[in-house]
């Protein structure tokens, strides 16, 4: 299992919430090398409804203040793979990267008090249909990996894992307390 995507859902926001300030925030993160990856550029997709929102493109990953399926969240997509890592370690690293970015974003003055992320509501996908098609077999492979990674963060038995998405979509699980 590789190329994990982790989305940390945001708590409900005001109806007129504007993700636009993330453009300035992400540019600043590039200026200040705020994240460990090589940060490349910012893309604005506010014009696309239920789309990727504001994207911060890095060499090894993509960060986005994402609005896919109408749910706001911080989406982290791993692009590169360290072959030496185990699958649970890869997922743990992806979770840590997503949480770090979400905490930073919450703390930015542009979003102060207007954007909070759920502590225990995430979605995990595997962004490679060949290695992980959205089938029962793949899900059976993903679940233990996911439990190892999430147990380490939230504690064993404190959450529910559900498979989501149609067979055409990426292999996806929602994890909530």
């Amino acid at each position: 299992m590789q190329h994990f995507r982790v989305k940390i859902f945001a708590q409900p926001v005001a109806v007129d919430f504007d993700p636009g300030p993330a453009i300035a925030v992400f540019h600043r993160w590039i200026q200040e090398s705020e994240l460990p990856e090589l940060l490349i550029d910012v893309a604005d997709y506010r014009h696309v409804p239920d789309g990727p929102g504001i994207v911060l493109m890095a060499h090894d990953a993509v960060y986005a203040l994402d609005q896919t399926k109408g749910r706001l969240g911080l989406l982290y997509t791993r692009r590169s793979v360290d072959p030496a890592e185990t699958a649970p370690a890869r997922l743990q690293n992806a979770l840590a990267a997503a949480h770090r970015a979400a905490s930073l974003l919450e703390a930015e003055p542009e979003f102060a008090g207007r954007l909070r992320f759920e502590a225990r509501s995430i979605e995990v996908s595997v962004n490679d249909r060949l290695l992980a098609p959205n089938t029962d077999a793949s899900f059976a492979e993903l679940e233990p990996v996911l439990r190892v990674a999430v147990d380490a963060e939230w504690g064993a038995g404190s959450y529910r894992v559900e498979r989501s998405g149609s067979p055409r979509e990426l292999l996806t699980a929602t994890v909530s307390a």
């Binding site: 060499h59 490679d128 060949l130 979509e169």
Partner: protein, 748 residues
Amino acid sequence: MKTSNSQWKNRLAGQIAPGLVQELDVYENEVALRKQGKIDEKVFAETRLRRGAYGQRYDNGQRNDGKQTRKLEYPEAPTKGPNTLWDAPGMMRIKIPYGGVNAVQLEVLAELAEEYSDGIAHVTTRQDFQLHFVHIEDTPALMRRLAAVGITTREACGNSVRNVTACPIAGVCHTERFDVTPYASALTYFLLGHPDCQDFGRKFKIAFSGCRDEACALVRMHDMGAMAAMRDGQRGFELYVGGGLGTVPQQARLFAEFLPAEELLPTAQAICRVFARLGEKKNRNTARVKFLISKLGIEEFKRLVGEERQILAHDDRWTAYLKDIDTTLKEEPLRPSSLLEIKPAMPEGFAEWEKTNVYRQRQGGYATVTITLPLGDITSDQLRAVADISRKYIKETVRTTVEQNLVLRWIPQGDLPALYNELRAAKLATPGAGTIADVTSCPGTDTCKLGISSSRGLSGELRERLAEKQFVMDEAIRGLRIKVSGCFNSCGQHHAADLGFYGVSRNKAGYTVPHFQVVLGGQWQNNAGSYGLAIGAVPSKRIPETVDRITSRYLADKQPGESFQGYVKRIGKAACKTMLEDLMVIPEHDAAPDVYVDWADAREYTIGDIGVGECAGEVVNPIDFQLAACERESFEAQLALEAGDASRAARLAYESMLHGATALLKQRVPVFAEDGDTVVGHFRTHLVDTQLFHDPFAGAKFAQYFLKAHEKWELTVSPERAHQLVEEAQLFIEASHACYARMQGAKR
């Protein structure tokens, strides 16, 4: 980069045509060899371009972050072309001949956008799809997945025959002579990889239109354009050659009033052979076929093509496709036709949407529906939704359009409300197709290496503002077209719009300010029947106000029934410029810092270490005045052209370049005589030989405009030549501004 890349070959075994498998194996090997440094970078660059793998902004490993230019420290690896780093993300262009795409293809595009890009597929102004931020090592697998569903990226970029475009309503249109779809398809696959098309100096674009007067295919701005025509009951084409936009836009010239259908493929082949043999190869800036035709003259070009046609070895494919022409690619509906029943309780927003996004087909009871895509963008989820809808209501008869939208053909009219509801659920039921709110844009500074201003940022802003107002707008304004390009290369087709904009920059007190040139009076109708001319540059952040100003003046002052082009022509470009003069003024940096930041960006546009000196706000360098004077002369040249005085237009255009060069030289040479010969001599020595005047991408192109105008000066010129000089002068002045910025030490 995906570790599964190497496995796709086996996974898709048997699903890809054997010839194509071999081609893709070769490409995959070339990628591997280049990674090992065993292929020259220039050779690899052209190889990948011919496979549709294109460069993207910042792939030279440098980016200005708003404070400083920083090196992007990619892992150590070879380059994928001169000055293009291996690991830097790139763009993948995917050819969609005549825009035709089916459900499974849409689903694969959705997968590729998710797995290799950023979740967005982008429809271009030439009916292609593009994916951005793609790693070069993912491209072979990506191409295999496309090939397995019948899509090729071959010759999507590079010096080749690009995607062949056609009217998206071909076959269902009321005004067409006949359906051009099978002809466009036949020509696509005949020329794809054809040995006679492998040695061009530049790209070659072809378009098909079913009729002469509508806009759909923009035939007159293509290297080769074919309009359906009938003679004595026989099908054929009115054939045009040598059109193009770019820096020097040219209307295509008539090649044949009537070319019988059976002559289409061999004639295209003969044209390609002449272009390959005689077209410019060294200087990319004059390598399009329009320059060859200008050099030879259309009659000589026709003679050469005729000669070539005579000696071509016969090829059965020239006419083989004709025997099934009425059945190949013939579309059929999935459901029986029906009429729309107007009920009191129609879905919310249906009436507005139906008014702009539904075209009643020639075939009674059926409609073609436009799905308006904002800036041509569509998500993976939406692509899957369109695939589902296309299976449910139609036989997957979907096409892309040059206005960056999708159309669904053969929808029974009675199904429109239900279809609307499904599109609305997928957030794809935005009204306003083909209106002023349906803004077209090239990628601009978002991803294009050549972008000067943020065309997508501006277009997104205009779209949002106009979408709100469109329902209360006067129809005369609502029907106007806006097209935006990020630079003079015109990928946003700004010349063919009522209101066109292309990105330029200006300097003020040591800062560089993003601007757009305003281009008015272009014609979308008649297959891009006439092009607009530049009025003047306005700061990017003032463009929405510019649109408001121009459209409200038009509404207030237009005569009954007067079109926008007619209005612009009647009041003249001088009055248009006067209308915008206050908006062209650049405010001081401290008074309006937002003007110094482009749309959808947060970085200050001006970069480098230019300090804001204590006098910077007040003291204006004389060169600013001199360059402004050149712009005025260039503008007067446009007016002279408009008044039909070609000689005066040419003289003013030349003088504006002479004075621009003089102004720049004064920064370098203390004293010199200001006659033409002396200025040209110094210009060569101090600005051309030193490459100071060179554009980072176009090289000496703009300098050559001036040098050639001087060398070949004639008192009497044709209107065509005068038009060209006027266009060239405008670009020379833009280059002078850029050169001046470089002299000052600004980075752009």
